[in-house]
């Protein structure tokens, strides 16, 4: 299934809370981060110094591969030509059902905030991307934020033609200022690799950058809640300790090294090559737009909005879970 259309399904672990934004929030952290790579391991001898140099080299390679957000790379004709393939995957494999797309304002910028499931194959993204593109037409600008690593992977360049841009506040702002609809998964790599038994839990890991963005740009937030994506493999652990041990967080901005049982690998560590997702039924509910300033006042409290949004999305997810009789089958 390694053709470009399914590449469209492959991972859009979008997250707005980028390192530079966090750096701003807690002072000098981002500027000292680079140094800690060498000083932290510099306690002994040549070996660790070499390792840290090698790590920095890889980090530079990855950084240089991350494409700048060029919104112009989105190609409506390319997307249109791939709609049938996405339709086959969404309709036959995932038996996708997307409700409430009419809640999305017909035009103008909008920030769609979703919960993220299914490891690196992110099946809910293909179902939603198809639904959005057929509902509003490929003519409407629609961008998705994705993890840096996804966009710098060789072979996944076609994602950019789908409108996928590297997750950063600057890129997100650019898309919204251009009047586009923007899909973001604040939970990102943290949420998408949560263990199977937390599959019906919204977990953004406290990331609130997207709320500040919506406030600054004065755009409505549309919550998009999906279920079923996390039943496409048996996700066991995020492997955060493992990721720290291997310095993946410093090099790739990856805080996780997930372990799962997945087809065809059996035990699947890292999920870097992807896997064949089980044909779980995916249901997506789009909720009415939230005008933050109208609902939370002219000087809204970001934490209050965050808590409200999580509660709202969790209630919706609980209701969707109630409808489900069996995992995978739906």
């Amino acid at each position: 299934m390694a053709h470009s259309g399914v590449a469209g399904t492959a991972d859009t672990n979008g997250q707005v809370d980028s390192d530079d934004e966090r750096g701003r929030a807690d002072g000098t952290r981002s500027s000292t981060d680079g140094g800690s790579a060498s000083s932290g391991s510099g306690g002994g001898g040549v070996g660790p110094a070499l390792v840290s140099r090698a790590l920095r080299g890889v980090a530079r390679q990855v950084q240089s591969r991350i494409p700048r957000a060029d919104l112009d790379e989105r190609d409506p004709d390319f997307i249109r030509e791939r709609l049938p393939l996405m339709w086959l995957a969404a309709s036959l494999w995932y038996r996708g059902e997307v409700r409430g797309l009419g809640n999305i304002p017909d035009d103008g910028p909008v920030l769609m905030v979703g919960n993220h499931s299914g490891g690196n194959m992110t099946p809910d993204t293909v179902v939603f991307t198809l639904a959005f593109n057929t509902y509003f037409g490929v003519e409407r600008s629609f961008y998705q934020l994705a993890h840096n690593l996804v966009l710098s992977m060789p072979g996944l360049g076609s994602l950019r033609r789908f409108g996928t841009v590297a997750a950063s506040p600057a890129n997100a702002r650019k898309a919204l200022q251009a009047g586009a609809a923007l899909l973001v998964y604040p939970g990102g790599d943290y949420e998408v690799h949560r263990p199977f038994w937390e599959r019906n839990r919204i977990d953004f890991d406290g990331r609130k950058g997207f709320i500040r963005l919506a406030l600054q740009e004065n755009v409505p937030i549309v919550p998009v809640v999906s279920i079923g994506g996390h039943e496409t493999a048996l996700f066991l652990t995020r492997g955060e300790g493992l990721a720290r041990l291997l310095a993946l967080d410093r090099v790739f901005r990856l805080k996780v090294l997930p372990v799962s049982l997945a087809v065809p690998w059996g035990l699947n560590v890292g999920d870097m090559l992807g896997h064949i997702p089980l044909p779980a039924k995916i249901t997506i509910e789009t909720l009415p737009p939230i005008d933050l300033k109208a609902e939370f006042g002219p000087e809204p409290d970001v934490d209050e909005i965050y808590d409200h949004l999580i509660r709202l999305m969790q209630d919706t997810l609980d209701a969707l879970a109630e409808e489900r009789r069996l995992p995978v089958i739906g």
Partner: protein, 164 residues
């Protein structure tokens, strides 16, 4: 992908035309249609534009369409402006006094979508065909019921006029 469905309705052609050409009624009899909104200044006639969506599998497919043939009470055809390429047509013919043959046709596809497009069209064809069959059934029911109500109302009016 091309799908078609036809039926004969016990009603004059003008009555059937009044329903199929009325954008306000589309949602009440067109099966699978989730949206049919007027997007032009003129609600009906040549050049009228609608935003329509049809549920096919897991997606609602459609876009902006424009009426490109308007020949009352016989022919009504549209073509897509945005969204997936499509052409649709209502073809009405009077087969006997008070009897009308109504046929709906829909052709849709994505040029350049390759093998996946070919497969998807084959799978979508029976789904769309089912929608069209339901559409003509519901149209028949709508028109004939409406006609029965009108005839009953006329009889009542005649009776009360006679009694008066």
């Amino acid at each position: 992908m091309r799908a078609t469905a036809a039926t004969t309705i016990s009603a004059p052609i003008e009555t059937v035309w009044a329903v199929v050409s009325d954008p306000e009624q589309a949602l009440s009899f067109m099966s699978g249609v989730t949206r049919w909104e007027i997007e032009s200044d003129e609600p009906v006639g040549l050049g009228a534009r609608y935003r329509m969506l049809l549920r096919v599998g897991s997606a609602e497919v459609g876009g902006l369409i424009e009426i490109v043939e308007w020949d009352p009470p016989q022919e009504l055809a549209w073509t897509s402006i945005t969204g997936v390429d499509q052409r649709g047509r209502w073809r009405l013919r009077s087969v006997a006094p008070g009897r009308t043959k109504a046929e709906i046709r829909l052709a849709a596809g994505v040029a350049g979508s390759g093998i996946a497009g070919w497969v998807a069209e084959r799978i979508a064809q029976p789904i769309v065909g089912g929608h069209l069959r339901n559409t003509v059934t519901q149209l028949t029911r709508l028109v004939e019921n409406e006609q029965m109500r009108e005839q009953a109302a006329a009889r009542r009016a005649a009776r009360s006029a006679h009694a008066g």
